[in-house]
Structures are given as C-alpha cells and as structure tokens.
Amino acid sequence: MIEKSEDPEVGRIGNPSYDLFAASPVERRKKITEAVVRWVLAAVTMLLILPVFAILGYLLVKAWPALTPAFILDNPKDYMRAGGIWAPLVGTFFLVLISLLVAAPVGVLAGIYLNEYARDNWFTRTVNLAVMNLAGVPSIVHALFGVGAFVLFAGMGRSLLAASCTLAVMTLPVIITSTREALAAVPMAFREACWNMGASRWQTIRTIVLPNSISGILTGVILQVARAAGETAPILFTGAVFFVPVADHGWAAFFPYGLGDRCMALSMHLFTLSTQVYGVPEEIEYATAVVLIGLVLAVNAAAISLRVFLRTRKKW
C-alpha cells in the first residue's frame, strides 16, 4: 500500500527535488560521458575522412591547369616534360584487360567451387585460408613471383603478358571472395527446387545460381579492375617500363603494344614523373595523379552503385 503524500509537490514531473523520474547524479554523469564519447568518435571518423577530401581537392586544384582533353589524348613528349598521358593510359587499359581475361574465369570458377562443391572439411578450410593469405601477400612479393615464374620460368620475358599475369594472380582473391559471397546470397531453396526437377549440380548452377548472382559476381570483377589499374609494384619489374615510343595517330595509337612488348602504365608513369625525371612541370604530375585516382574511384563507384541497385531490387 502506498500512502498518498500530503505534499502536493511530491512526484511532480520537472521538480528536481521531488521528481521520481529525475536523473540521479550518476545518471547525469553517464549522460554527459555519453555525449562526449559520441562527439569524440564522430570527430575521429571525420578526422579519417576529411583529410582525404582535402587531399583530393588539393590534387585537383594543382592539376587543373593541365587537365585538358589534349592531356589525355597526347603522348608524353620531350622526356615527359610536355605532352599528355595517352601511351600510359592505353598501357593500363591493356594490362587490366588481359589480367581480367586471366583472373575472371579462374576466380569465378574457384568461387563456384568453394560455395557449391566444397564440403566443410579441413581441405576446404585450407583453401579458404590460402585465399586469405594470397590476398595478404605484399605486392612486391607478387612482383618477385612474377619475375621468377612468368618472366624467367615461363619465358615470357618482361612483357605486357607477364605483367598482366602477375596482376591477375594478385587480384584473384578479390574475385574469388566476392563470387563466393554473391553465390552464398542465393537462397538454398532455389537450388533444392531445381534439384527436385532432376537437374544435375552443374545444370542447377548454370540455369539457377549464376543468373541469380551474376550482378554480385560482376561487382567483384569490377573491383578487381580498380585494384589492377592502380597497382604499381607488381608491374615494375615484369613488363611496365619508363618509356615506350607510341604512334600519335591512327590505328597504331589504339593498339600500340603487342603481348610480348614492354608497355607503359599510368601508375608507373606517375612514379617515374615524380621521382625519376627532373624538371617535369608540377601540374603534369598532379594531373597524372588525378586521372589515375579518378579512374580508380569511378570504377569503384560503379561497383558500389551496382551493389546498391541490386539490394533494392532483390526478389527474395
């Protein structure tokens, strides 16, 4: 039994000395800590993101005078001190394309194996561990591998092909992991329904699983492209070189490198411009950096928007 108090102020909301629901000193301190922590953590997060925007802005401002269509379409001239970035840009394009042709089929099939065929045993766990570790191998060790395996052992020499293969090995884990995840997102019931119709494992994969996960797989492939386009160390000793004279006009300007030729690459070009050649106008260096970063971010943004788009129209 609660006796009704004589004092009309007791229990009145908002009266600190009587309010039954008023915050105690402990609670008040908690609330303050909470607010402080929230702001500190928000500040920390901003501290990570804002400098990047500052840096991007800085690069863009410095590069602005050189960023013209001609800069993209011209070849480097006069020991890189003038002209544009056409030859390295085409080189990067071919490096990425060939590495994609090598890595995408292998990576997608490996993802299919891991998600659709592999049983949960020690061997599969070892394969998964190997994928993780392959992703963690330093890029310069990949370069050494490329030199040992492709340039010397396979006899490719320092060439576009050797560099592309090295890039393919390096970016393989990206494709494997994302394919596996895309396949895992397809509900088991889809497969079971198909098996009940008498379809074999591969028929199920081909007609049900792959069509339902193709966009997720594509996202992974696009991320591979972005990663391969930005890498420098693996191509440094396997095929990318300082300078290759490339035709300025016509058909040859679009296909300047054969598979066995050495090529230029945008990332390598940025390295050369900023550390190896003296007297390069600053805006050319900055513009090269901006084009490289713009390419990579654009490709990534494409992958992310594809993923977001997918999530909104998923049927299950």
Binding site: P51, A130, N133, H142, F145, F153, R201, S274, L297
Partner: protein, 315 residues
C-alpha cells in the same frame, strides 16, 4: 531420324561435358593453394643459390651468412671491395614505420569502427561505409605521391626537419592506408556480436558507451584483434607508398624525422638495377622470402583468431 540422332549425340556430349566442367571448377578451386605454394616456390628458387652457396665471380664462392644477414646494419650490396648484406636497418625501419602507423591507425580506426557500428544510424552509416570503402580503393602510388608532394613540405614547415620524406611521413601515409581495413573488419566484428547482448545491457540501464566498452569490446575482442593484425599486415607489405614517402636512407632511425628504408622499398628500389643472377639480385629475393614469411604469419594468426570467434559463436 537425323534429328533423333542429333538429340542423342547432344545428350551424350552434355553427359561428357559435365565431368569436364566440374573438373575445371575443382582445378580452379584449388588454384589459391597452388598459387600460394607457387609464390613461395618461385621466390625460393631464385633465392636458393645464395642460401646454399653459389659462385660469385671466377674464384669466389658465396653463401649468405644468415646471422650477419639479420644482425648487421651494413647494406652495401654493390660495393666492389667488401659487399655487405645486412638487413637489420631495413628491418628496424619496417618495424618503426609500421609501429608508428599503427599507433595512429589503431585508435582512430577502432574509434571510427565503433562510431559507424554503434552510434551512426541509417543514411549516415551507409554513407560513411561507402566513403571508407572508397578510401581503401586509392592506389598506393597515389598515397606515395601525396606523401612526397604534400605531406613532405608540411612536415618540413612544422618540424624544421631538413627533409620531409622520413619516418613520420611514412607513418602518416601508412596510417591513412591501413585505417580502412581496420574500420571495415572492426565494424564486422562489432556487428557479429548478437543484439541480445546489447538489449540485455540496455535493460540493466547501461548507456551506449558502457555497452561498447563493457560488453562489445570483450565480446568482439578477437575480431578487433584480427582487424588490427590485418592492418599490420597491410602496412608491412606496402611498397610504393613507403618507397616514395620514407626517404630511402638505410639507417636505424633515431628520431621521428629521420629518413628510413623498409624491406619492401629496398626490393622495389634495387631489383631494377641488380644484375640478373648475381648475389645482390638473389639477396633481394631472400628479403622477399622474409617478407612472405612475416605477412603469411600475420595473416594466418589473424585468420585463426577470427576462426576462434566463429567457433565460440557456434557453441
């Protein structure tokens, strides 16, 4: 009749095709294991002669003294009179720059992971996650360029150091580079803690911050540790950014503004100039083996730590 035969033929082809395709899938599935072995093997083959003895010149026989290799700071691979192959200075450089980077990246990265996972909500959370993903996509050569062109003058202005490309510069750049992986793996680890833990703590009257450091940190400590380890792995293996930002001086640093040289940068800087097949060239592959072993160990530990939580979660 022909149609019927074709139908049978098609069915037979399909029946044969399926095992072929499945075999191919299996082969590709094993590719990761094969490649990890191949990487070790091919780097080892190039390094082996110097480890087990090789001829270096007409009369000379050279075999790398491993004790001297790890304990000496004398790195003079091209010296005509007495070449020195001691990687201690580079080892210390790698450890110093990685440690410095982690000193900045771990508190910031875990703080941001907590904010993204526990404090930010809805649109803000999605936006932050996408931004951090984009941060991870910036190529290392661009980070190196930023360190070389932008951070370097800033450091010279702030500290009065004679050169801006040094330990501090490398540390800052590496910290920014390894933060995204720490944030995303750390956020995954926090997300993996069941909501019932949070609800139980809330019911006991805990504030959000109390939940984070009394409930989530202990519950997710393995995942957070894995996040840090993966960050360390990335920092140790980073090549182009440190090559451009750390100043490339083979010495043991005594202050934050001393230029240093890392193991990765040594390979990148010297492999192009080393004569193929000679001692210097092969010693660089030995450094590659060391790097492979270290990052392999770090990644393996991180993976086992994560496996540990997964098994606990199932139990």
């Amino acid at each position: 009749m022909l149609k019927h035969n074709l139908l049978i033929l098609g069915r037979a082809v399909r029946r044969c095709a399926e095992p072929v395709i499945e075999g191919l899938i299996r082969l590709c599935g094993w590719s990761a294991i094969l490649l990890v072995f191949a990487i070790f093997l091919f780097v080892f083959i190039e390094a082996a002669p110097v480890l087990f003895g090789m001829s270096a010149g007409p009369e000379e026989h050279f075999r790398l003294n491993l004790a001297e290799f790890f304990a000496s700071t004398r790195w003079q691979p091209t010296s005509e009179i007495r070449a020195g192959y001691g990687i201690l200075a580079m080892l210390v450089g790698t450890i110093a720059v990685t440690g410095l980077a982690m000193l900045m990246a771990v508190p910031l990265g875990l703080g941001a992971a907590v904010y993204v996972s526990e404090f930010a909500g809805g649109k803000l959370k999605e936006t932050l996650k996408i931004l951090i993903e984009l941060l991870a996509a910036i190529p290392s050569i661009v980070w190196g360029f930023v360190g070389y062109m932008a951070v370097s003058p800033a450091i010279m202005a702030a500290t009065g150091a004679p050169v801006g490309i040094n330990l501090l510069n490398g540390g800052i750049i590496l910290a920014l580079m390894s933060v995204p992986i720490i944030v995303s793996v750390g956020e995954d680890a926090l997300k993996a803690v069941p909501d019932s833990y949070r609800e139980a703590a809330l019911a006991l009257g805990a504030s959000r911050w109390e939940i984070v450091y009394k409930v989530l940190f202990p519950a997710a400590k393995n995942g957070l540790l894995a996040a840090v380890l993966l960050g360390v792995g990335r920092a140790i293996g980073e090549t182009m950014a440190v090559l451009m930002a750390t100043g490339n001086a083979v010495q043991i640093p005594h202050s934050l503004v001393d230029p240093i040289r890392t193991l990765t940068a040594t390979i990148a800087a010297e492999l192009g100039e080393a004569v193929k097949g000679d001692v210097h060239y092969r010693v660089l592959f030995v450094i590659g083996l060391v790097l492979f072993a270290v990052t392999f160990a770090v990644n393996l530990i991180a993976e086992l730590v994560v496996k540990g939580i997964r098994r606990e979660g199932e139990a």
